[in-house]
C-alpha cells in the first residue's frame, strides 16, 4: 500500500498551477493512515558518566564545535523561602561571575520552575573547560557581588509589579489552587520583595549542593571531554541532597473561576490527578493523555474551529500530580467548548473509544514523541532521575496495551475528582454549577 501511495504522489506530471485546478491522476486513492507499521526514528544515545557520584549525562553531536551545557537543580519554587519565590531566581542570577562567562561567548540563562531550576549556556568547544571552571567557582563560593545583587533585586521588583503580571499570576495560580490549595507557601499571595544576601546564601546552600545537581552536555563532546570539563566540579564536596516529598493534589474538585480582563480569550483547563512522571506508570499516562488530546483536537479544532490548539500540561513539573488539558476559546463560545470537553472525557470514561488500530498508532506516536524528547539532550536532565533508564522506558512503551491506557485514564480522570479551571475573560453569568461546585479564586495582592 505504501508503494501505491508513493507512486501516486509522484504522478505530478500533468500538474497545472492553481488552487484545486490540478488534473487528478486517474486512480482515486484514500491513504489509510492507520494501517502501516511505523518504526520510530533512531534515537541519539544518552551516555552517563560512570563511576561518578554525580549525575552527568551527555549526547554527542559533532557537526560543529559547540557544546550546550545545562546544570539542573532538583530544587524549584516549592523549595524557595516562604513568600519569596524570587529568592531562587536571584540566587541563580547572582551566583556566577557572568562577566567572565560572557567573555567566553556564553549567554547564560536561568530558568526556575515549580520543582526544579536550571542554569544553561552554549560555548564553543575550546572554551568548555574554562566555562566549567567558572561554574565550579560559583558553586564553591557564590559570586554575589553587592552591586549586581542590588541591581538584580531592582530588576526582579520591576518585573513583578504591574497589573498585567498580577492578572497573569492569577491565571497560573488558578491551576495550582485547584489542586494544591492546602499546601502552605505554594499558592499564598506573594509577599513584598524582601530578599537579603543571607537569604540567597541559605537558599543556594540548600539548592546548589552538588548532590542535588544533574549535568548535561550536548554537542561536540565525548567521554574524555566531559571528564575533563567536570574535573573542577568533581573536586566539590558532595554535601547533602535536598530531601522533601512532593505534595499530593487534594483540594476539592469542581469548577475554579479566575476571571481577568488581560487575556483576550478564555483559557479552559480540565484537570485530573495522579500523573507520576519518572515512574513505570508514566508511559501509560502519557499514552492516555495523548489519546484524549488527539480526540479533543479533532472535536474542538479540526471539526469546529473552536480553538487553535489543545495542549497537555503538568502543574508541578517533575512532581506530576495534577495533569491538565488546556485550550483558549472565544469568550462567547465558552459554554459550547466546555460541553465538548466534558463530553469527550465522559466518552473516554465510559466507552474508551479507541479501536485497536488507533491504539497501535497512538502508542507508536507517543513512543516517538518520548524519543524525540531524548534527542533534545539539553532537556534530558530535567526529566530523568538517578534510576532513569531510557531502554527500559522504551520497552515499556512497546508493551503498552489498551488496558494500560484505560487504567491510566481512569486513575487520572475520575469524574468525581475532575477540576475545570477557567481563567481569562469569560461570561461570569453562565451557570457554572452545571459542571460542579464553584470556587472563585481571589486575585493576588500586589
Amino acid at each position: 500500500m505504501r508503494s501505491v501511495a508513493w507512486l501516486l504522489l509522484c504522478a505530478c506530471a500533468p500538474m497545472v498551477a492553481g488552487p484545486g485546478r490540478v488534473l487528478p491522476v486517474a486512480l482515486q486513492y484514500e491513504p489509510n493512515v492507520y494501517g502501516v507499521k511505523v518504526e520510530p526514528l533512531p534515537r541519539r544515545e544518552v551516555h552517563r558518566l560512570t563511576p561518578s557520584p554525580l549525575t552527568v549525562l551527555w549526547v554527542e553531536d559533532h557537526v560543529v564545535p559547540l557544546v550546550d551545557v545545562r546544570l539542573v537543580a532538583h530544587c524549584g519554587l516549592l523549595d524557595a523561602p516562604a513568600g519569596q519565590p524570587d529568592a531562587l531566581r536571584v540566587a541563580w542570577s547572582t551566583a556566577f561571575d557572568l562577566t567572565r562567562l560572557q567573555a567566553l561567548g556564553a549567554e547564560p540563562r536561568a530558568e526556575v520552575r515549580s520543582t526544579l531550576s536550571s542554569f544553561y549556556f552554549s560555548v564553543a568547544r575550546p572554551n568548555l573547560e574554562a566555562a566549567l571552571a567558572l561554574v565550579a567557582e560559583g558553586l564553591t563560593s557564590p559570586h554575589l557581588d553587592a552591586d549586581d545583587f542590588a541591581l538584580e533585586l531592582n530588576l526582579v521588583r520591576a518585573s513583578r509589579e504591574g497589573p498585567v503580571e498580577l492578572a497573569r499570576r492569577r491565571a497560573s495560580e488558578a491551576l495550582l489552587r485547584a489542586g494544591y490549595g492546602h499546601v502552605p507557601g505554594l499558592v499564598t499571595p506573594v509577599a513584598p520583595l524582601d530578599i537579603s544576601v543571607e537569604l540567597v546564601r541559605s537558599t543556594w546552600a540548600r539548592c546548589g549542593a552538588a548532590a542535588n545537581l544533574a549535568w548535561t552536555f550536548a554537542g561536540d563532546v565525548d567521554e574524555a571531554a566531559v571528564r575533563a570539563a567536570m574535573r573542577p566540579i568533581d573536586a566539590l564536596p558532595l554535601s547533602a541532597r535536598l530531601e522533601r516529598s512532593w505534595p499530593r493534589a487534594e483540594s476539592k474538585p469542581g469548577v475554579w473561576l479566575a476571571p481577568n480582563d488581560v487575556d483576550p480569550g478564555t483559557v479552559l483547563s480540565l484537570c485530573g490527578d495522579g500523573f507520576l512522571p519518572g515512574t513505570d506508570s508514566e508511559p501509560a499516562a502519557e499514552f492516555a493523555l495523548s489519546l484524549v488530546v488527539s480526540r479533543l483536537s479533532q472535536d474542538l479544532r479540526h471539526r469546529s474551529g473552536l480553538t487553535y490548539a489543545v495542549t497537555p500540561s503538568l502543574t508541578l513539573d517533575e512532581a506530576g500530580g495534577l495533569a491538565c488539558v488546556s485550550l483558549t476559546v472565544a469568550p462567547e463560545q465558552t459554554a459550547v467548548a466546555v460541553e465538548v470537553l466534558f463530553k469527550v472525557f465522559d466518552l473516554f470514561w465510559k466507552d474508551w473509544p479507541v479501536p485497536f488500530m488507533d491504539m497501535s498508532w497512538y502508542k507508536q506516536r507517543a513512543r516517538r514523541s518520548a524519543q524525540s524528547e531524548a534527542w533534545a539532550a539539553g532537556d534530558v536532565a530535567t526529566v530523568e532521575g538517578p534510576g532513569w533508564d531510557a531502554k527500559k522506558l522504551d520497552a515499556r512503551y512497546r508493551q503498552l496495551t489498551n488496558a494500560d491506557g484505560v487504567s491510566a485514564f481512569r486513575h487520572m480522570f475520575d469524574p468525581a475528582r475532575r477540576r475545570l479551571v477557567v481563567s481569562g475573560r469569560f461570561d461570569a453569568s453562565l451557570d457554572w454549577t452545571r459542571w460542579g461546585p464553584v470556587t472563585v479564586i481571589p486575585g493576588p495582592t500586589p
Binding site: 488552487p19 547564560p108 552554549s122
Partner: protein, 465 residues
Amino acid sequence: MGLWVVVALVAAQAGASDTKSVEFVSLSNGMRWLLVPRAGEATNGVVVVKAGGIDEQAGATGVAHLLEHLAFAGTPVVGVYSWSQEEDLAKQTLALIDEFAELQRRNKALKPAGRKLLARIEEEEASWRKRTSSRVYQGLATQFRVQLNAWTTKDSTTYWGMFPPEELHFWLAAEAQRFAAPVFRDFRISRQIVHRERLMRGDPLDEAFEGLLAEAFQGCGYAWPTIGLEADLPFLSPSQVSTFYERHYAPGNAVGVLVGDFDPAQVKQWLAETFELIPARPVWPRSPAVLNRPQYLVAPGVEPWLFIAFPRPPARLRSAAAWRIIDALLDRSPSVLDRLCDGDPCSKVVRFQGPGSAEVSLSGVRLRLAPGQTFETLEAAVFKALRDWKPTEAEFAAARAARDVHRLQLERDGMALASALGEALVLQDDWKWVLAPEPVSLREVQDVIDSLTQGRAWVMQVGAP
C-alpha cells in the same frame, strides 16, 4: 589578557564555516534550491515562498497566514475519494463562501438572505466533507514519518519538514503537489482556527504595538500584524486567498533547501520529477516597505508604557551586522538597559524588533513606568543612557564571541539552517552571508549607537495616567 586571546582564537575558528559544501541548483521554471548534504542525521527540508504579510492588500490582511493553514488541507490527489466528484462541489461551496463574505462586509449577513445563504453553505460543506478529508495530507505525512510545520512572517512563508533520509522523495513529491495545487478544504473552519489563534496573543500591548506599526509604515504592507486585523480576518474569502496564491506562489518566487543525509545527484533527479514540473509563472512584484518620518504618539493601554523605536536596516546590509552586535551587547547581563535600574525608580524593559527583517524595519524597547516616574523622566533617562553608551573593547569582543556561538548554533540545527538559508536566498538573492563571519568593527557599532538619537526615534506613550 590571556582570556581575550582564547576568545579571538575561537572566533576565528567559528567563522570558518564551509560555504563550499552548499550546492546551488536552479530549475528551469525559475525555482532555486540549496543542498547541504550532512551524513548520519534526519533531513530537514524547507520550501520558502517570498509571500508574507507585506504582500497583502489593505482589507485582506492575514491572507498569507490563512493560505499557509489551508496548504495543509490536501491536494486534488491527497485527501480525496474522487476529485471528479469533488471538484464541482469545491468550486460551488467556495463560491458561496465568497458570496457570504461579501454580505458580511456589507453588514448584511444577518438578513434573511444571508441566513439562507449560510444554511446552504453548511449543507454544501457537509456534502463536501463526505467526499473528502482535510486531514489526510498531514496524516499521510505522519505515516511516512515526516514531521510537517509551517510559519508565516511579514516577509515570507516557510513550509518545513523533517524526515528520515529514505522518505526524502515522498516529502519532495508531497510538497510539490501542494505548492502546485492546494485545495481549500474546510475553508471556514481554517479561517476560524486562525481567528482563534489571534486570541492567544497574550500580550495586552500587542494592540499598542500594532498602532505604532500602522503609523510608522502607513501605506505599505508592514503596517499590520501578520496574523491579520480583527476587521479583516473573520471575513477573508476564498477568492482573496486564491488571488494571493496566484500572484505569489510561482516557482520563481520560491526556493527550497535541504540539510541532511542525501545524495545531491539523486536529489537533482527527483527535483526534475517533482518541483520542476510546476509551470513557470510571472512573479508579482513586491512593493518595498517605507518607514515614515518619526513621530511622537500617544495610545490607550491598561498600564503606562513608553515605546522607543529606531529604524533598523534590512538584514542583508552591512549596517545590519552592526545591529546584530548591538543585539548581542544588549543580551549581556547586565546590559546598558539593565543599568537603568541601578537606582530607583526602576522600569521593566522589554526589547522588540519588527515587523519584518527583509526591509527597513524597527528595533526598540518598551519600558513600564515605575511608581513615581513620568514619561518625560523615563524618556530622558533612556536617551541619556544611549548617548553615554560606549562599549569597551572587552564587551565588543564578548559580543562577537556570542555572535559566533549563535552562528554555530544555526549551523548545527538543520531546521534553523535550512530556514535561514532559504529566507536569505528568496528575500535577498544571497545566502552566503548567513554562514560567513561578519567583519564589523567597534567603530561601526559605535556609529550606529551614536545614531540612536531622539530625532530619529519613534516614541509612543501608552496608557498615560
